[in-house]
């Protein structure tokens, strides 16, 4: 009976942890996507310095959450987005604004797709 109770407790803990992980993942992805969206919106008219600061901000948010994301996500689904985000400060200086916007849209989309694949939806379960 002791093992039965322990098993039930473990399953409840797993369910709570899973819900917590999902919530945190969604929050992290949203904050990175919002920061990327800022670059996407301001890139056509923003000054170079402002753009650099925004890129640094995205990188800061990413670094804060990267360990957690790697712990709960399949690494290869993160790789492309990670490459773009970690290179953003350099990209703002080396590529055209159009290309920068495109890269940011791609990275945000990859993160959203990854987030969507972790949502409790019938298409993800079956």
């Amino acid at each position: 009976m002791k093992r039965f109770v322990i098993s039930i407790i473990i399953l409840i803990v797993i369910a709570c942890a899973a819900a917590g992980v999902n919530h945190r993942l969604q929050r992290n992805v949203n904050s990175i996507c919002e920061a990327l969206q800022t670059i996407i919106e301001s890139a056509p008219n923003a000054a170079q310095k402002e753009l650099n600061e925004q890129a640094e901000e995205v990188l800061r948010i990413w670094k804060k959450d990267a360990a957690f994301l790697h712990m709960v996500e399949i690494h290869r689904t993160l790789e492309e987005a990670e490459q773009t985000i970690t290179a953003l400060p350099q990209l703002t200086k080396t590529v055209s604004r159009e290309e920068l916007i495109l890269k940011c849209i791609e990275a945000a989309q990859q993160l959203r797709n990854m987030n969507r694949s972790e949502q409790v939806l019938s298409e993800n379960i079956f």
């Binding site: 039965f4 322990i6 039930i8 369910a15 399949i74």
Partner: protein, 222 residues
């Protein structure tokens, strides 16, 4: 992680049902749920070893969940006879007094070759020698030989050979096992009367097993 947890739950139930549908002969030596847990755990644990891209937390969650399901299954099986029947099935008598129950053989999809092979492994080469053969829930075949073919024991030497020493466990954990009761040839009222004579009642009985001669063993609950 939520998706992993739900997928593990769905797969566990689905694979258990699949193994139950496959029948006893596919099981080997494990109970259906044990087999499912073993198959799934070995596969789940192997994948992240081969693929470093997969987060270990998902594997640990899945394995932990399977172990918990298995423990919960075992405990519920101990408490509920109906649940145990549903998940593990029940033993089936396929030879009764030297006669093969062909219907049960077909139901279990057990061939005569399978049966003869199992008997030969127990040094029995003639079906007529068999008093009872039972296919257990784990797929093994248990055989009781007729008294004249069994090696003599000290008890046989002292008391003479006992033909029907097959005991049916008719009460388990305070609850009557209707199938075993039918097979034993006794009624529930007779069992209640036996327990009364033994100074106990159904609720306080852990096991009551009885053979056709009425010889019985009562083990009380602690």
């Amino acid at each position: 992680m939520s998706v992993t947890a739900i997928r593990v739950s769905v797969l566990y139930v689905f694979t258990t049902l699949a193994v139950r549908l496959m029948g006893k002969r596919q099981i080997g030596e494990l109970q259906p749920t044990e087999l499912v847990a073993t198959i799934l755990i070995s596969n789940i644990a192997a994948i992240p070893i081969q693929d470093n891209d997969l987060p270990l937390v998902n594997t640990i969650t899945a394995v932990l969940m399977l172990v918990c399901f298995e423990v919960i299954n075992t405990v519920i099986s101990m408490v509920s006879l109906r649940y145990r029947r549903c998940v593990q099935g029940s033993p089936v008598i396929i030879i009764n007094n030297g006669v093969i129950d062909q219907k049960q053989m077909q139901r279990l999809r057990l061939t005569v070759s399978d049966l003869m092979s199992a008997l030969r492994q127990k040094n029995i080469f003639n079906i007529e020698e068999v008093l009872y053969a039972v296919v257990e829930t784990d797929g093994k075949i248990s055989v009781l030989q007729k008294a004249q073919y069994r090696p003599a024991t000290v008890s046989d030497m002292m008391e003479g050979g006992d033909e029907d020493s097959f005991y049916h466990t008719v009460i388990v954990d305070g609850k009557p096992d209707k199938e075993a009761l039918t097979a034993s040839g006794y009624t529930l009222q007779q069992m209640i009367s036996i327990l009364k004579n033994a100074g106990t009642n159904m609720k306080n009985t852990f096991i009551l097993s009885i053979n056709r001669k009425g010889e019985h063993t009562v083990i009380r609950k602690e």
